[in-house]
Structure formats: C-alpha cells, structure tokens
C-alpha cells in the first residue's frame, strides 16, 4: 500500500542546507497500522508530509497505492490525496466557515458528487463518531474533542486506502483522547484502512502493530508488536 524508498529531505536554511530526513525506507501492506515516533525535531511530521504527498522529497521515492508520487506535479498529487488518503491533524483543521456536515462532505463534493446520497453518507459518518445531531453546527460551536471527531468523519468520507494521523490526540484531554484513539482504531479495523500515526506518545504508538522510531532524521528502529 505504501512503499518508501531511500527518502531524504533537505531544507535550505540560513546557516546552510539542513537535512531533516535521511535515507528512510520502509513498506506497508494494506490494512497495516504503523506508528512513527520520535522526539521533537526527529523528522516525524516531515516524513508524514512526504508520505502523504504534501511535499516533494529531495531524493528517494514514495509509491502510494501503486502510484509513484515523487515524480508527480502538485495537481496530480492532489488527485491522489483525494482518491486514496484521509487526514487527521493535531489542530483538527476544519474549515471554520463550513458546518460539521459540510466539512465532512468536502472530499466527495470535490470530486463533483453531491446530493442526498453524499449528505446521507456524511450524516452516517457523523452518527458513527457520535455527532449525528451536530451536523449543522460550525466548528466554533464544537469542543476540541468534537471537532476532532468531525475531522475523523471527514477523513473516512472518501473511503481512503490509507489514513494519516498527525498527533491526533495532541490537543485533547485524557478521556477524550482515549475515546478518539478507540474511534480511529475501530474505524481503521472496520474499513480495513492502512493507518500511519505520527505521535510522541508511546502508549498510543503501542496500539499500532508496528513502530518506526526516528531520531535526527534517521530510522533507529523498526519493530513489529
């Protein structure tokens, strides 16, 4: 499902080139779940960005759902994201001017689909995350946990083959975080989605079947649990 080959990312910085990721290689099968852990500045988020096609690698390649995204231009990668990928961000990143339901249905509407079937599916997903009654509410009218659940419903709207979560519980309190993690894993299991989870929370990481540890841009361990 995801093949990462000798991935390197270097940024131009004031003091000279700064390599934040070096020669990272790994492969994920469909339905797998992996946690990428490491301290701040280890390159976790950069790796997630490259895997999801949000940025171009300096060298190396990413093959996602059989498509090599390294050579693609920005628009082609946008299409890949829309077809195959779901996102859950630490800061939820809901569009503030859209209602919860509209936020959820954006990925499908983007394909040109709309109408009752799409709305129905959006409501269904909101029910699934426990917000069936809150579809018409705007993000400011929802708590942090609720916003993250809307984000999760949105992530599953396009039935992604792979779900990227960037510190999904980073802005949530303990109980809400636990409930959120359960939801992510349940949905992952239910929909048979490949899961890539970036976190510095080892307890959360242990809920995945594989953990890749990063330090200073290098993979220091890659273990199955």
């Amino acid at each position: 499902m995801l093949k990462v080959e000798r991935l390197t990312k270097t940024y131009k910085a004031a003091g000279g080139p700064l390599t934040v990721l070096r020669d990272v290689t790994f492969e994920l099968q469909p339905g797998a779940s992996v946690a990428i852990v490491g301290p701040s500045g280890s390159g976790k988020t950069t790796l997630l960005g490259l895997c999801a096609g949000l940025d171009r690698p300096t060298s190396g390649n990413v093959i996602l759902a059989g498509e090599s995204i390294g050579a693609m231009n920005e628009d082609e990668r946008a299409l890949v994201r829309n077809r195959h990928i779901g996102f859950v961000f630490q800061n939820f990143q809901l569009v503030p001017t859209l209602t919860a339901l509209e936020n959820v249905t954006v990925p499908i509407e983007l394909r040109g689909d709309s109408g009752r079937a799409v709305t129905g599916r959006g409501r269904e997903l909101l029910e699934r995350v426990g917000l069936g009654e809150r579809g018409d509410h705007y993000p400011v009218q929802l708590s942090g946990g609720e916003q993250q659940r809307v984000a999760l419903a949105r992530a599953f709207m396009n039935e992604p083959k792979i779900l990227f979560c960037d510190e999904p519980t980073g802005n949530l309190d303990g109980d809400t975080a636990t409930a959120m993690v359960k939801l992510i894993l349940d949905l992952n299991h239910e929909k048979k989605t490949t899961l890539v989870l970036v976190t510095h929370d080892l307890e959360l990481a242990k809920k995945c079947r594989r953990i890749i540890r990063l330090r200073s841009g290098l993979v220091v361990s890659d273990e199955m649990i």
């Binding site: 949000l54 961000f89 990143q93 569009v95 001017t97 993000p139």
Partner: protein
C-alpha cells in the same frame, strides 16, 4: 452547483458583510464612470438631435466690416432665406436704477433668425415687437441683477430704449456667456439710429442663411470662401459647430472621467489591500483543502470567484449610484451646456463604465489572490510560515504589466491621445513608487534605526508594529498617502486658480477701465478722472490694423495657396495695436531688443510682438511684416518678442509699435484707473459719461464678481467630482483600519490576557497610527505640492499658490481622520472580554 461556486459561497459565510464592505470601495469610482459615460451619450444624442439649433442657421458668415452691397446681392442669389445681425460691445445703463452701468453685447437683428431652435423670451414672442419703436430685449440675468422691470428704460449709447422682454435662451449659446457679456437685442433700424456704429468702433457683422435642403452647405461655404477671400470672412456651418462642440465636450468628459477613474483606482487599491489581509487569514483553510485533494487552481478559483463577486457587487451598486449621478450631473453642468439635455440611460455607456470598473477591480483583486496558488498543503501540519514558496512569481509581475496596460489603455481612450494618457499613467506609477519607497524606508528605519532601550514598552510595541510580519505599513501608506495626495492636489489647485484671479485686480492695480475714448477726448478724460480722485494708472492708444504680408509673402496669396500651419485667424484678424516708448510691468522681453522710439518716416519700423503670436505666425526676431493700417501699408520688422501676463488687468497688446510712427493714424484710447469703492466707481463713471457719452467702461470689481460666480460654478463641478475621490479615500481608510483591526485582534487579545490595560492598548495603537498617519499625510502632501506646481506651470501657466494653512490643515485633518477612525474601529476590541472576541473571530 459546481464545487468551486459552492465552496466560494460557503467559505464566504463569516465574511460576507466584510466582503460587501470591501466592494463599497469601488462603488463611487464606478458610479462616477457610469454616470459620466452615460451623460456623455446623452449629450452626444442632444448634439445630434439639436444639430441645427446649435447654430440657428445652415450657414453663418461673419465679417469685421459691413458687407459690401455686391456681396449682399450675391448672398441673395443663393436661394433660401437670410438674416442680418450686427453685434458690438457697448455700455448699457439703466436710468431707473441710478444709471447703473454694465458693459454688454448689443445685437441688432433683421430677419427671422434663428431659423432653427427657438430664441426664448419672457413674455414669449417679444422679438416680434422689437421693430415697433425703440424697444430692447435684455438678458434676463442682467435685469434680475439690477432689479430692472419690463417697461423700464435702458440706455445704449445716446439712445434710450424701453425694455419689452427678458432674454432667456439663444440656440447654441451656453448660459455662461450671459455672465461675461450680457446680451441686449434691439432692431436694426434703432441700432443704426444710435451713434454706436460711427467712428472706429469694433463691430461684428453676420449673415445667417437658411438654405434649400438640396444645398451642399460645406461645399457652398468653401466656394464662397474662395470667391470672397479678400474680405476675410469667417464661415460657420452646422457641421463645424458640431465638431467644435463635440471636441470641447470630449475634453470636459475626458477630464471628468479621469477624475472618476482616480476614485476607482483608489477604491481598487482598497480592495486589494482588504483582500490581501483576507487571503492571509484564509491560508490555513486553503492548506487544509489542499490536503483534502483540492488542486492549486481550484483553490485559486474559489477565492477568485469571491473576488469577482466583490467586483460584480461593486459594479452593480456603482451602476445604480452612477445613474443617480447621471441625473445630477446636468444640474451641475447646466450653465456650461449650450442646449437642453434629455435624461436617458445609455445602456451601452453604462455597460462600458461598469465593465471598466469591474476589470480594474478584478485585476487588483488578483494581486493578493495569486498567493493562494502557492499555498503548500504542508502548512496544515506545519505552522511555520517560512515553508511558503518565496520564489518570485512571474505571473504577479505579468499582472503588474497588465494593470499598467489597463490603466494606460483607459487613460488613452478617455483622452484620445497617447501623451496625456501616458502622463496620467506615469503620474500614478510615480506616486505609487514614492509611497511604496517611503513605506519600505519606514519598515527599515523602525527595524534598524530606532533606539529601543530608552523607549517605553508602549512606544516599542507601537513602532515594532510598523515592521513586524503582517505589518500593514505599505498598504496603509499607499491608501492613506494616495487619498491625501489626491484630495490635497484638488484643494491646492483650487487655491492656485483663486490666487490667479485674485492677482488680476488686487493691491494697487487698476480696477476700472474706460474704452473708446476718442483722440480729441483724451485730455478732457484725463482731467475728469483726476478731478474725481481717480488718476489714470495706465493708458494706451489703440490703432486697428490687419496683416498685409509676412516675410514678403502677401496674406491674400497665403490664404489662397495655403499657409503652412499658420492659423488662419492670425492672418485674417483685426489687430488692435498700440505704440509706446517703454515696456509696462505686465510684459518682459524674451528675445531681441525693445525699441521705444524711431524717427518719423523710418522705412522699416521695429515692432515688439507677443511671443505666442510670433510662434503662430512663424516669425522670429528680424523677420518682416507689412501691416495695412486703415488702408495705408506700413512695413515693420520684429525687433523683439515679449511674454505678456494677459491675466493681469492692464491694456495689453499683441503688437507694440515705437513712438514716432502711428501718432497721425485715427485712434481711440483705453485707460485704466483705480477706485477705492463701488460708490467711487459709480461717481467716476457718471462724471465721465456726462461729458463724454460715447466712452464706455468696465468696473473690474463687478467683473471680479462675475468671474467669481463662474469660478464658483466650475469649483462646484470640480468639488462634486473630487467628492467621489474623497469619500472613496475615507471608505478605503476605514476599510484598511478595519482589516488591520481583524489582523491585530489576536495579539491584542493576547496582550489583554497577559494583563495589558485598555489605556496601554490604546497608546500602542496611537503610536502606530500617528506614525502612519503623519507619514502618509506628509508624503501625500509633498506629492500634491509637486503635482500642483506642475499643473500650475504647464496647465494653467501660472505660479502655484500653496497656502501653508491649507497644507497644514489638510495634513492635520488626514492624521486626525486616521487616528479617530483607528481608535473608534478598534474600540470594541479593548472593551470586550478576550474570550468573546476569540470565539467571534475564529
């Protein structure tokens, strides 16, 4: 509905009011363009509809001498109908009103002129009764000014007439003419009975033709011109009048459109400034959408749709407002239009005005929107701004060229010429360049030059706001500076024009002029005015003459064979020249040497010619000119060229002869005196008229009043147009500060959370807005001084008048408006609990 439209609509939810407010910035600019364009079409239609009444005839022939019998006989063979008219300037006085005097234009008519259009009098049909005795029809405004009633007497020359009607309107002559030279109609027979046409008095003789419909008028005018070229006649046809009028109207409308365009341009800058802030606030949304698979061009299209919606809303509101403006404009311009204008909506003009507004608005909106194309989806997971694409955007550069080309295209289309269009565009570009440069300097200075340590926190924070990321220094300086520049330029130009008029009769300059003093009356005249306490300040003999040949080439031959760019009127006109020994204080020699006296009988007489006339006649120092002085040829050469201040009230002349040549020629005199008051003026005039009844006079204080009246009307038109720019400037200012408020709201809230008092927050704002307000006002002020100096020198040929008080007042007002608007619009932020604001603005 497509995804783009749907998202554009949904995304605008929280900002619709704000976006609508943004669109108001361009409403007035578009309103001005639409209103002016549509009225332009109204006038064009009016000119076409009322073509014949613009002249009142098919053909009018004018001469400075009575038409010879043979010529009149020839005219009568042309078929159709003809009417004769004689007009001359003369003193008009009203015995029933204490002999109040005014210099007017006396006209006598014989025939049924006007053949087209209507000469409107009150009571109607008064013209028909003109011949039944010594009757006169007098300009309505003149009757009203002196409180003269129908039935009262009016004295013209030595004859007394009875006022039988008020003249309301003459086809083809604007009302403004009446203010300068009020018209009085009498019958031909009664005019001939006065002594006005005797002696050397200047009069115009006209024959108006109503020709059979089959006559080719243009061809006839040409044939007559050829046949009668020795008589130096002027031929006016309807086509020619229409062209002159069309050209004049085009000039007026070009000017008005450019003023309207400045308002639009300023509004568009306001839109760009607001959209810049708006787009910055949308970056995370764009990044998130990009993560969800939205392509760069789709994201761009979403916000472009919103930008276009602003333009369309602005254009729609602007068009509606423009139609109201169109309805108002004829009232504003009524004294300057020679005909009635029917109000109708010219949809083609409306569409053109609205389209121009929409294009400019959208082009300016594109500038900040281009950034949306380059928002990286990575920003959704990384908050660092530095991850953005910092490469120079070639599309942005191209867009600047497109905007410049659009502005140039508009200006050239409006003015009809490349040069003024280019000058307008360059002026705008230079203003932007200077304001942008000052903004950069402010940013650099606040960053590197200001001493931080001795300053209090409030000062440091306020000054740091000028250079920190997301600062609005450039945007505020551009919009505030440009608004100040435009407003102040209009104010200073007004002062300059007023100053020019003031200089005409201020100080110890003459303010009462006497004309037509005969040769044998001049000594008595001097004695009368001196005895009445108003000694002569300037006096000059006037001898009428025409040019017979230039550099050895006969004028008649030149008129026949072509005169290589020399305007015909300079060859055919009658020159009222003088002679004197020295220069006067309204003139100076620019080339050659002024010779004040020659020995009588000199073969070639050295003359001094006014420089612009010499240029028209293509003469240089040393060139020969032969004059026909009332039948006697006189050979002269150009000994010197003079620059003359024509606007100064003094006897000024195109051609000045030396003493010793023209003394024996028949001549009249003109004299200028200064009187202390209106009462003195009346007393001196009456004393002169009592003894010398043929002498006429002009009281310049009255003329000043008239000019002031006309100028007030012009100033009203200019102010009306300036209002669009000024109000747009204020809207842009409020918009800029409001968007600034939203931009700064989070940090204000943070400061409040950290314990900053309202007073401290206000002081921080005060520091920032004072610096920006003062710098914008000063830069705008400096630009306006430069613009006024250039406009004064090259457009009005005068010196700029920059009253320090006006300048200071405008700068202070600009700073005050900035501060008040800044503090008022930010007031809510400091008064509301932080949490409430955070929730509202999320």
């Amino acid at each position: 509905m497509s995804f783009i439209l749907k998202m554009a609509w949904r995304d605008s939810r929280a900002s619709r009011r704000r976006l609508a407010l943004v669109s108001i910035s361009v409403v007035l600019g578009i309103a001005a363009l639409v209103g002016i364009a549509s009225l332009g079409d109204n006038l064009k239609r009016a000119v076409d509809d009322q073509t014949k009444s613009l002249l009142g005839s098919d053909l009018t022939v004018t001469s400075s001498k009575p038409f010879p019998e043979a010529t009149m006989a020839h005219f009568k063979t042309l078929g159709g109908e003809l009417a004769r008219e004689v007009s001359l300037a003369s003193q008009i006085s009203f015995p029933t009103r204490g002999n109040t005097r005014w210099r007017g234009q006396v006209r006598a008519l014989e025939g049924n002129f006007p053949f087209y259009g209507e000469l409107v009098t009150s009571p109607a049909g008064a013209m028909a009764k003109l011949g039944a005795g010594n009757n006169a029809i007098v300009e309505d405004t003149l009757l009203a000014q002196f409180g003269v009633q129908i039935g009262d007497e009016v004295k013209i020359g030595k004859s007394t007439f009875r006022v039988i009607g008020a003249l309301k309107k003459i086809p083809g002559e604007p009302a403004a003419v009446a203010m300068l030279a009020p018209r009085v109609y009498v019958s031909m027979a009664s005019l001939e009975a006065t002594d006005l046409l005797k002696g050397d008095r200047f009069a115009r003789y006209r024959v108006h033709f109503k020709l059979p419909v089959t006559t080719e008028v243009e061809a006839l005018a040409k044939t007559l011109g050829e046949k009668l070229k020795n008589q130096r006649l002027r031929f006016e046809t309807v086509e020619e009048r229409k062209k002159q009028l069309g050209d004049a109207l085009k000039d007026v409308f070009s000017f008005m459109s450019l003023v309207g365009f400045v308002a639009l341009f300023l509004g568009a800058v306001g839109v760009a400034s607001a959209m810049h802030v708006y787009v910055r606030q949308k970056i995370l949304t764009v990044a998130t959408l990009r993560c969800l698979g939205v392509r760069a061009r789709t994201a761009f299209a979403i916000y472009l749709t919103q930008g276009c919606a602003i333009g369309v809303l602005g254009a729609a509101l602007g068009t509606a407002a423009g139609l109201s403006v169109q309805a108002l404009l004829p009232k504003v311009l009524k004294d300057f239009l020679p005909f009635e204008v029917d109000f109708f909506i010219s949809w083609a003009a409306v569409a053109k005005g609205a389209a121009a507004g929409l294009v400019i608005c959208v082009l300016f909106t594109l500038l900040p929107l281009l950034a949306v194309r380059r928002v990286s989806p990575l920003l959704a997971i990384r908050s660092a701004q530095g991850q953005g694409d910092n490469r120079e955007d070639p599309v942005r550069l191209a867009l600047f060229f497109v905007i410049a080309a659009a502005v140039l295209g508009f200006a050239v289309l409006q003015t009809g010429h490349w040069l003024p269009g280019l000058a307008f565009t360059l002026a705008m570009a230079v203003s932007f360049g200077i304001l942008g440069g000052v903004a950069q300097l402010v940013v650099l200075a606040s960053k590197h030059l200001l001493p931080r340590k001795p300053l209090s926190y409030v000062w440091r924070q306020g000054l740091a706001n000028l250079h920190r990321p997301n600062n609005r220094t450039l945007l505020l300086l551009l919009s505030l500076g440009l608004a100040t520049f435009l407003m102040l330029t209009l104010l200073l130009t007004r002062s300059t024009l007023l100053g020019k008029i003031e200089s005409v009769a201020g100080g110890s300059r003459p303010n009462l002029m006497f004309f037509d003093i005969q040769d044998d009356e001049i000594l008595r005249f001097d004695a009368i005015v001196s005895a009445n306490g108003a000694p002569v300040i300037a006096q000059a003999p006037i001898i009428t003459m025409q040019i017979a040949s230039l550099k050895g080439r006969a004028v008649d031959a030149m008129l026949k064979d072509g005169h290589a760019g020399i305007p015909a009127w300079t060859l055919t006109r009658e020159y009222r020249s003088t002679y004197r020994a020295a220069l006067v204080d309204t003139e100076r020699v620019t080339a050659g040497k002024f010779i004040g006296r020659v020995t009588p009988g000199e073969a070639r007489v050295p003359i001094s010619m006014e420089e612009s006339l010499a240029k028209d006649l293509q003469l240089a120092v040393g060139d020969e000119v032969t004059f026909n002085v009332q039948g006697v040829p006189l050979t002269a050469y150009v000994a010197s060229l003079r620059a003359v201040e024509w606007q100064r009230v003094s006897p000024n002349f195109f051609v000045v002869f030396p003493e010793g040549v023209l003394e024996p020629a028949p001549k009249t005199f003109v004299a200028a005196v200064r009187v202390a008051s209106m009462a003195d003026s009346g007393r001196v005039q009456q004393a002169v008229v009592k003894e010398l009844p043929s002498v006429s006079s002009i009281d310049l204080t009255l003329i000043m009043q008239t000019i002031d009246n006309i100028f007030s009307k012009v100033a009203f038109v200019v102010s009306f147009l300036a209002l669009f720019t000024i109000v747009t400037g204020v809207i842009v200012l409020v918009g800029a500060i409001l968007t600034g408020r939203l931009q700064r709201i989070r940090e204000t809230v943070l400061l409040r959370t950290l314990g900053a008092t309202q007073r401290q927050l206000r002081q921080i704002l005060l520091v920032e807005y004072t610096v920006l307000g003062v710098l914008s006002a000063v830069t705008g002020g400096a630009l306006s001084i430069a613009a006024t100096v250039l406009v004064a020198k090259y457009r009005f040929n005068t010196t700029a008048v920059i009253p320090p008080l006006v300048l200071l007042g405008a700068v202070a007002a600009s700073v005050a408006v900035t501060l008040i608007t800044g503090l008022v619009t930010n007031r809510g932020v400091a008064n509301t609990p932080p949490l409430e604001i955070l929730r509202e603005e999320t």
